[in-house]
Amino acid sequence: MPVDKSQIIEKEKAIVDGIELSAEWNRMFEQRVVFDYDTDALDKVTSLAGGESMGWCYQCGQCIPVCPVDNVGEYGPRKIFRNLQLGADLFNDDDLWKCTTCMNCLRVCPKEVDMIKIMPAVREEAVLNGNVPDELQEVFEKTFEYGNPLGESQRKRADWIKEAGVDVPVMKEIRRPVDILWFVECYPAYHARGKDASKALARILHQLEVDYGILGAEEKCTCDSQRLAGETGLFEEFAEHNIRLLNKYKFNKIMVTDPHALNAFRKEYPKLGGEFDTIHYTTFLAPLMEKLNFKNTLNYKVTFHDPCYLGRHNGEFDAPRQCIEAIPGVELIEMGRCREQSYCCGGGGGGMWLDGFMADHVRERLSENRVREAVETGADVLAVCCPYEVSRFEDAVKSTGNEGKLIVRDIVELIVEALGE
């Protein structure tokens, strides 16, 4: 344990139990002895709706080896429980913001200590008290003001369709029922690399002659990551908007680009009265891959990163792999940590907007750790299917010095490359 220099006390005279100690003992260091177990700290967490299971930890430690944050730093549910038991104030602690809600701990936890419920509950309290890292607070404000965490204009939400090269139907304009309502979400609508994937997906849907439409400028962020980062109020407001909007239109299914949106539609919107049959775009495409007219053979070795919110959270592991393997010439190589055991990119649960904050707490970014693993497989391409990942992994490829060795592509970008369009 490091010695906090500010805690060193120099005493002129030190008398312990009536015995005067010699001068060299007069230098007192910070408290080492546990003088109390302040149960209020833990009680404060377990009394929150959603926080109950924090008190269930029996310190088996199984969460620590699979915690992506502990892999690059010092963290994990077992440690959080222990610190709480020792009186740590999680509501005012940096530890509150490290969890990416990747769910790897819950997967292995025999007691079902559920950080996916605990973290938003405690964070919500911290948010209400204004104890939020600045960079995250900025994103909350941008989302509130602009309808998306990137702070882009709401009117420009569908601007990407002008560059798609194919017609992209917008529900408000076509005024008819569709089979598939494509919920595009923010990063695929605004971020440069997200737009690349959206354009690619639009071309695929076009070739497959899918009867679909998007919400365009009417769509707002699902805010699932903001919810997990503690902004429950924002989430509910936006959810009500989206539910109202979706109820205006007729469609059979929602298809989402973003696994975080999938999570919101599947698990959170029903609680607010929004019941929609929702699938991820890889789930939609997998059975249709054989209908595509591929012109090119891609001689790539591809490794695939399972998004936490597609795989562990929502159980879809096969569809992205089926899509990749259906591309002519592609060889899929798995990383050691894949499927249920997949490592986290660091973007979930608000992590997307906490990179600066996290830099002080980790040896390397989670995305860097993951990119190194991808490079080790010998793959040429790291394939992804979550809009958070493209930019995170491309940055990590550069920062780990792997430029030229590995490229990052959304699965739909690979498909379009093989289609030769």
């Binding site: 080492r32 002895v33 546990v34 003088f35 109390d36 177990y37 149960t39 833990l42 009680d43 377990t46 109950e52 299971s53 008190g55 269930w56 029996y58 310190q59 222990r82 038991q85 020792l86 007691k111």
Partner: protein, 353 residues
């Protein structure tokens, strides 16, 4: 002619269960009890509720003993002590002092269910100051207070605000000589902690342990319930000494997962004492010439597959006379002992006297 009666020594849960089984199968049981009532240690030590189901001890034991109290096949001899034994399987002649008078009991087989006694934490070491501090008590002491629904600090009669249990007192200890785990103390401490929290919702309860040994359903029925619903604080690391500080007790030990010393104030400390063979168990081993293990419990000869046969044919042991046992163990082994004792007298009938 071989005798078909079966002598049961000790009227606790194991003895009662054995008598019930023997009577139900149409054989005669002679149940010898040194006290003037049945129920054994759970009754004598005034257990409040049973572990793990929280059933009221008096009610549960009352229900259990009712069939033997008025049963023509069960002859209960109260205030009776066994003093000597002769003979062998099929023909045991046992001497006893019954209500001060010498009597002789004839039996074809014998079941010894003389149980255990609670470890006396002042016996070997004064580490925890059990004899010194009024507010250092044992599980047994706590049980009595819980039964009376009056859980207080013995020193001043006030309700405690902070209570801790120290596990493995008198168990798993080479120096004391009790190397075994007493099996039940983790569960009983957890059960008591739930009872304390129910009785005194503002009282914080801590359990300092080496490892929690909550086998089988005790895990989910006691341990998880204590931690998850009653917010009992489990801290891995044992207290080593207790010193008085003002009117509090300063419990000193190491929080092992933190690798830091701890000195935490408590109002009441409960020592989770384990099991030792009772005096009766040791005496009966000597009277019948039974092999004992190094801890002086009666040794069973069949390993894990026969938990009741002793080194003397026709003599069986049930319950905690053979080692630490919970109530489930005790009644299960009692049933097995009853079955084997009946088999022994039936078999010995075929052998000429």
């Amino acid at each position: 002619m071989a005798n078909q009666n079966i002598l049961i020594i000790g009227g606790g849960p194991a003895g009662i269960e054995a008598a019930k089984g023997i009577a139900a199968l149409g054989y005669k049981a002679i149940l010898v009890e040194k006290r003037d009532r049945l129920g054994g240690t759970p009754d004598e030590a005034q257990y409040a509720a049973l572990t793990p189901d929280f059933r009221d001890t008096d009610e549960a034991l009352g229900e259990m003993m009712a069939p033997v109290l008025d049963n023509e096949n069960v002859n209960i001899l109260y205030n009776t002590l066994i003093t000597g034994a002769e003979g062998s399987i099929g023909n045991f002649n046992v001497k006893a002092l019954s209500l001060g008078k010498e009597i002789e009991i004839k039996a074809g087989a014998v079941i010894i269910s003389t149980g255990f006694q609670h470890f006396d934490p002042g016996r070997e070491t004064q580490k925890y100051g059990y004899y010194e501090h009024d507010d250092v008590i044992t599980l047994t002491d706590a049980e009595k207070m819980l039964k009376a629904h009056n859980f207080v600090r013995p020193s001043n009669g006030e309700k405690p605000k902070r209570v801790c249990f120290i596990q493995c007192v008198g168990s798993r200890d080479r120096q004391i000589g009790n190397e075994y785990c007493s099996k039940v103390c983790c569960g009983i401490a957890s059960k008591q902690s739930i009872e304390i929290r129910r009785l005194l919702p503002d009282c914080k309860v801590f359990i300092f342990y080496i490892d929690m040994r909550m086998y089988g359903y005790w895990e989910n029925e006691i341990y998880w319930v204590a931690q998850e619903q009653h917010k009992v604080n489990y801290v891995k690391g044992m207290a080593t000494e207790i010193v008085k500080k003002g009117d509090k007790l300063l419990v000193k030990g190491e929080d092992t997962t933190l690798r830091r010393p701890m000195e935490v104030p408590m109002d009441l400390v409960i020592l989770s004492v384990g099991m030792e063979p009772s005096e009766g168990t040791k005496q009966m081993a000597s009277v019948f010439g039974l092999k004992q293990n190094k801890y002086h419990f009666i040794e069973t000869t069949g390993g894990v597959l026969d938990t009741v046969s002793t080194s003397v044919p026709g003599v069986f042991a049930a319950g905690a006379a053979t080692g630490p046992a919970d109530l489930e163990d005790s009644v299960s082994s009692a049933g097995l002992a009853a079955m084997k004792a009946i088999a022994a007298v039936r078999q010995s009938q075929k052998i000429p006297a």
